[in-house]
């Protein structure tokens, strides 16, 4: 019997749903064995585990495409509502593969940094155990369809993500970790409350069953089903607010800059690229899968509006940061805003296109941001700090690093054929169908602002060296070339995402009604690679970049004056938003507004 025939029942046959539970079991086994193997063994175990998991995730995707229907696995043989089921559909498959592969690559990159000789036993065992924990939590989030099972998965994720922030144990990082933990716990409490109300209203926690009940029963205007519908929407508003706190959508972002900016570089990469996307994925599930007729609710406008706010404020704040890692962290906040444009646009014929855009953004941003954080870590290691004003001329010492930074940055900015360009064009296509021109405008503006801070990094890199600081001996000593491999791979992946064959993109369509990803992507890319299409999007970017570089080199005074005028007020505003009490009050406000807009 050939190997192919042996695995056929799982890859293309009746047993393909059995591929799902190993994706939970594998990281958990690794997690539990890690403390038994000690720090050294944990590193090897984690990497082997992730490698096996990547293969498994790919197998799941293959099985899903072969089946062309969702794969459902009732755990323990008990079906919902009594038991808990796992479900794989297109977007989940994409996320599973992305998570496994990205964690594997980040792990390989971090294998030297988080080893016993370099970091000691405590941090090494901690890092690799937490990496597996993040993976376990994310897999649970992508595969789950029971609201409480998803809660437990979120908690696994949070408990693994928070300690990554303070692995090195400095006071600022411990403080950031505590804020992250407490805010995330409040979010979890709100989520759990919503799930409980759902159970009380429907008697089940299974997303599909609740959706069926809502479709059948509650209709607008209120009747017998009105109470049920109202209570369900209140519950969804609670869950959604909790998840917004965990996804750090501005203005609920108080914990993210210090946490992602202060964590060790590989940890920041994991946090920005994957952890925040987990709670976002759950938001998608809630609003797109559980709630019927989202388009008729105004909550999409609220979420989209907050997304635009995040894009603008996040990018502007990134422009003003003095530390590279904080710049990248604020860039994450802005890019998260792009994700939330799916909610106002997820209606009508173009709804599927918006969903495709959101998923492409998840993938593209994950790749590009992981690359940027790993590169920031590389600079930090080489120079001992990441203060941009004192990094003048670093491009001369580390030209390849600068090149990869530019590649990753261009993917974020949205130059064709990058993932960022796909996202902008797909959203534009979806918005055009609805005549909502303001969403794509916000995206364009965001892209230009991203270009601005990318250009600022470039200007600093090729500019004069800061006088007082002499660069320490040879960055080549502490930043060997092997540290460029993974970031370069990721950056190229993000930059060339648009060149993927449309059929591959079509994987995310499986088991989702109304999505036509491969067609949409093909349409968008057709115009992208023509000269007019290319320069149409690249032109403004280059113009902005040029302006920024010139301004920067015109002297610190010009830059400084601009900063002082505009920046001061914005920084003050953003600092006020990041105060605990402000964020807490806004959390409740957003809860009420969501509930109110959800109920129409």
């Amino acid at each position: 019997m050939t190997l192919w025939a042996a695995v056929d029942p799982w890859l293309a046959g009746p047993r393909s749903a059995e591929l799902l539970f190993p994706l939970l079991a594998l990281p958990v086994v690794g997690l539990l064995l890690a403390p038994l193997l000690g720090a050294r063994g944990a590193r090897l175990l984690a990497l082997l585990n992730l490698a096996a998991g990547s293969v498994l995730a790919l197998a799941c995707a293959l099985a899903l495409v072969a089946a062309d229907a969702p794969l459902i696995y009732p755990l323990g043989g008990w079906a919902a509502p009594l038991g808990v089921e796992l479900r794989l559909d297109g977007p989940a498959a994409v996320m599973l593969v992305l998570t496994a592969v990205l964690l594997l690559l980040i792990g390989l990159h971090a294998a030297w940094e988080f080893s016993v000789p370099a970091m000691g036993r405590r941090a090494t065992l901690g890092f690799w155990t937490l990496l597996l924990g993040v993976w376990a939590g994310l897999n649970g989030l992508f595969l789950g369809r029971d609201l409480f099972n998803l809660y437990v998965a979120i908690e696994v994720l949070t408990f693994s993500a928070v300690p990554m922030v303070c692995l090195k144990g400095h006071a600022a990082q411990l403080h950031a970790a505590f804020r992250y933990l407490l805010f995330a716990l409040l979010g979890s409490a709100l989520y759990l409350l919503g799930a409980g109300l759902m159970l009380g209203v429907h008697g089940t926690l299974d997303i599909a069953e609740i959706r069926a009940a809502l479709d059948a029963g509650g209709t607008h205007p209120p009747d017998i089903g009105g109470h049920v519908r109202a209570a369900s929407l209140a519950a969804v508003a609670l869950m959604s607010t909790g998840l917004l706190a965990k996804t750090a959508l501005m203005p609920l972002h108080l914990w993210l800059p210090p946490a992602h900016g202060g964590a060790p570089a590989p940890a920041s990469a994991v946090l920005s690229a994957l952890v925040v996307k987990g709670s976002f994925f759950l938001l998608l599930r809630l609003w797109l899968d559980l709630v019927p007729d989202l388009p008729e609710l105004h909550v999409g406008l609220l979420l989209g509006g907050l997304g635009v706010f995040a894009i603008l404020l996040g990018n502007l704040m990134a422009l003003m940061q003095a530390r590279l890692k904080l710049l990248v962290a604020y860039s994450t906040l802005a890019q998260l805003g792009y994700l939330f444009l799916v909610f106002p646009l997820a209606s009508g014929a173009s709804g599927g296109v918006a969903s495709t855009a959101a998923l492409v953004q998840v993938v593209s941003h994950a790749l590009a941001k992981a690359s940027l954080f790993l590169l920031a870590g590389r600079i930090l290691t080489a120079f001992g700090h990441d203060r941009l004003p004192a990094l003048g001329g670093f491009g001369r010492d580390m030209p390849l690093t600068l090149l990869v930074i530019l590649l990753a940055g261009l993917a974020l900015v949205g130059l064709p054929p990058s993932g960022g360009y796909l996202v902008k064009s797909l959203y534009a296509a979806a918005a055009a169908e609805q005549g909502a021109w303001w969403w794509p405008s916000a995206l364009e503006l965001g892209g230009l602002l991203s270009a601005a801070y990318l250009a600022r990094i470039l200007a600093i890199a090729v500019g004069p060296r800061a006088a007082a600081e002499a660069t320490p001996a040879g960055p080549g000593v502490t930043a060997p070339l092997r540290g460029l491999v993974v970031p370069a791979l990721l950056a190229l992946g993000a930059l060339l995402l648009g060149l993927l064959p449309p059929a591959l993109v079509g994987v995310m369509d499986v088991a989702r009604a109304g999505m036509a990803s491969s067609g949409a992507v093909a349409d968008v890319m057709r115009s992208a690679l023509t000269p007019s299409g290319f320069w149409g999007s690249a032109g403004p970017v280059l113009a902005v970049a040029l302006i920024v570089v010139l301004l920067h080199n015109a002297g610190a005074s010009a830059w400084g004056r601009w900063l002082a005028c505009v920046g001061h007020g914005l920084t003050g505003l953003e600092g006020w938003l990041r105060q605990w009490r402000t964020a807490g009050a806004l959390l409740l406000l957003i809860l009420f507004i969501q509930g109110w807009t959800a109920m129409g």
């Binding site: 079991a25 997690l31 323990g76 065992l125 437990v152 908690e155 008697g203 009490r581």
Partner: protein, 331 residues
Amino acid sequence: MPDFPLPVPLWADIPLALALLVLALWLTATRRDRAAVIGFTGYGLLAAIAWVRLGSVDVALTEAALGGGLMGLLLLTAAARLGERADQPRPAMPVRLLVGVLCLGVTLALAAVVLSLPAPAPNLVAAVAANQAATELGNPVAAVLIAFRAVDTMLESVVLALAVIVLWSFGADRAWGARPRTLDLGPPSPALMLLGRLLPPLGLIVGVHLFWTGADHPGGPFQGGAVLAAMAALLWLARLGEPPPVSDGLTRVGIVIGPLLFLLIGLAGAVIADAFLAYPEGLTKPLILLIEAAKTLSVAVALALLVAGPPELPAPAPARGETAAEPGGTV
């Protein structure tokens, strides 16, 4: 479980609920952290009574052991170590008003939703009862935890184990391999030493009994494990024993054995029985008891270690005479 008789009239619930609310208000308003923590322990015990009134004895046991007992110890040692420190200024009146109004709004909206839940209430009582026989367990809550929603229970055991490792990572690099010292709060009083000798044997019996009886009556691994953990903490507080060093292999095995065994049996179930986390017929009860025994051990070890804190190096002798707000040598 048969119908739970409620001889206590309804008017006992309103005072209890009011007491909970008033105590919660006091906890939030009082100025001293230590008083708030002690009040919180009392709150946990009152909440346990509330759970009995709600007919959920399993939850009442868990709340009393975890929420009242262990949580109180945890927060009390934290309050002792942190001292009274306010890191935020007193909020201005407009801020307090705004947040107060928002919170009141949340309460009212929640109360409205709770009062308008559909009747007859949708429930899974019948589904559980119908399928309970397959699990050979008499306690429906245990059946739900170990069979129907086994994955949640397994993941939650994993969360406990993960939490211990994370807790250990909060120690200093230099202290890796040392013993946890958060419970090392100074020489124990004679009363504490007496309790430390009297209670643990009783607690051991109670804990094991809770685990064993949980199969058919209220109780179970979490409740039993929590009692055992409390006894271990008592021993450490009374300095009749020391928490194990974090590098101790046997301790690490104890932490992971519960979830690991659960997972391995679940994987075996994928091959032998129907599915992952299913139990083969005929072997159901023995396997479940085996899993629960291992889980009790792991829960006890994990909860005790969570209270014991991260590893620390012993303090230099002179520092020990200081107030409790100055912990020994935590470098």
